[in-house]
Each structure stands twice: as C-alpha cells, then as structure tokens.
C-alpha cells in the first residue's frame, strides 16, 4: 500500500464489529446442541472476528488481540483436546472417544455424552480459528496491509 496512514473510521468500525462477531461465534459453538452449528462453523466466525481487526489495522495493533506466534500452539492444543478426550475415555476403561467413561463425577451416561460432545466441539473451534488466522498471517507476512 502506498498510503501508510491509518483510517480511524475503518479501525473503529472493525473494533466495534469484532466483539459481536466473536460473541456470535461462541454462541454457534455452545448452542450447537440445540440448533445448526458446531465447532467448524463457530471457529470460522471466531476467525472472521480476528481477521477483521487484522485487515483493518495491520500487524502492530492486531497483535495486541491475538499474537502471531500463538497460532500454531493453539491449533495443536485444539487437536490435543479432542484426542485427549478420546484417550482419557480409553484409559478409563471404554472405547476410544467413548464419552460414557469420562471421569466427571455426578453425571449419568447420557449427560456425560452431552458434555463430551461440547468438549470436542471446543477443540475443533480452537483449531479452525487458529488455522485460518495462521494462513492469513503467513500469506501477508512481510508486507503490512492497511
């Protein structure tokens, strides 16, 4: 870009919209049990809210929101949440990803499945969000737009 000056209108507009998109993303993840939605869709919305600030403000300001080098560890963390849920169920005497065997006290089998699905959807959401941010960051690396 030749014009290096920031436009405050775009920046404030993005800052205004970003939390609402993020809230809707969390709603889509956590409400996936009752309505269409889930980890993939909600993670994409979370990534949209992060990318909006990134496009509008450039690297310096957006790194206050989500640091660039954190993307890869968080993506791995999402996969580990999913895989670890399955592995814990396996170690506690069930099949792989058999949520009935999760060691959460005070819940019957069906409710354990309910919470197990929620945990893995969170893992999917984290991975999808950070992978999309990671791809964007690597594509624009070196040239600071906006």
């Amino acid at each position: 870009m030749t014009n290096k000056e920031h436009s405050p209108i775009i920046l404030y507009g993005a800052r205004f919209l970003s939390p609402y998109i993020m809230l809707f993303g969390f709603y889509v993840i956590f409400h996936g049990h009752y309505s269409p939605g889930g980890g993939f869709q909600g993670g994409t919305l979370l990534a949209a809210s992060l990318l909006l600030v990134r496009i509008a403000s450039g690297t310096e300001i957006s790194s206050l929101q989500f640091k660039e080098y954190l993307a890869t560890p968080y993506a791995a963390l999402g996969v580990l949440i999913y895989f670890g849920t399955g592995l814990v169920a396996l170690l506690y005497g069930g099949y792989f990803l058999d949520y009935e065997q999760l060691p959460i006290p005070g819940l019957e089998a069906a409710d354990l499945r309910y919470w197990g699905i929620l945990i893995i959807e969170l893992g999917i959401g984290i991975t999808v969000m950070t992978v999309l941010v990671l791809i964007y960051d690597n594509m624009v690396k070196g040239e600071d737009y906006a």
Binding site: G32, H33, Y34, S35, P36, G38, G39, F40, A71, T72, A75, A76, G78, V79, Y82, F83, G86, F96, L97, Y99, A110, D111, R113, Y114, G116, I117, I120, E121, G123, I124, T127, V128, T130, V131, L132, L134, I135, N138, M139, K141, G142
Partner: protein, 95 residues
C-alpha cells in the same frame, strides 16, 4: 452447451422420488441388501443416548467422532503445510 447440460439434468431430476414419501428406499428400515439402516437407530435413540436435541451434532460428535477427529487433523495439517510453505525464509535460503 449449458442448455444441453441443463436439459440432461432436468430430465434426470424428473425421475427422482418425491421428497418425504415414506415408501422411498431411503426411508425404509432395511436397505436393498437386507441389512438394517443406521439412520433409523439414530433418529430413534439419539436423544436417549446423549440428551442432545440436535441429531446432527450427536452423529458427528458421538457416533462418528473418529471421522470428525480425522477432519480436524486434515484442517490442522493444512494449516501446518501453509505455515511451512509460506513462512518467511532466512536470507540464506532465498534463491
């Protein structure tokens, strides 16, 4: 060419069974080969198994969870490949 293709598609679509007809093959309890269709079990038992009203979530997250784990790993490896291909290389590696 587009008109020809559209005609072919419309001709093929005109032969499809009506949506929602209980006599359709996809709504039967048994498939053509005589085995039981899993969709029946999902629709009848999904709420009792997981206390989750959304059947699609139960299928994706519980019955077919290994498949979903594979999808997540595909996305993760796609991100890693982008990271490895697109990251800024050091001065020595530039050719």
């Amino acid at each position: 060419m587009i008109i020809t293709f559209t005609t072919v598609l419309l001709y093929a679509a005109s032969d499809l069974p009506l949506r929602g007809n209980p006599d359709n093959q996809m709504n039967q309890r048994e498939s053509i080969t005589g085995t039981e269709v899993p969709g029946n079990y999902y629709i009848r038992e999904a709420y009792h198994d997981a206390h989750t009203p959304n059947i699609v979530t139960v299928i994706l997250g519980d019955y077919r969870s290994v498949d979903t784990l594979g999808e997540q790993i595909v996305i993760f490896s796609a991100g890693l490949i982008c990271f490895l291909l697109l990251r800024k290389r050091g001065q020595n590696d530039d050719e």
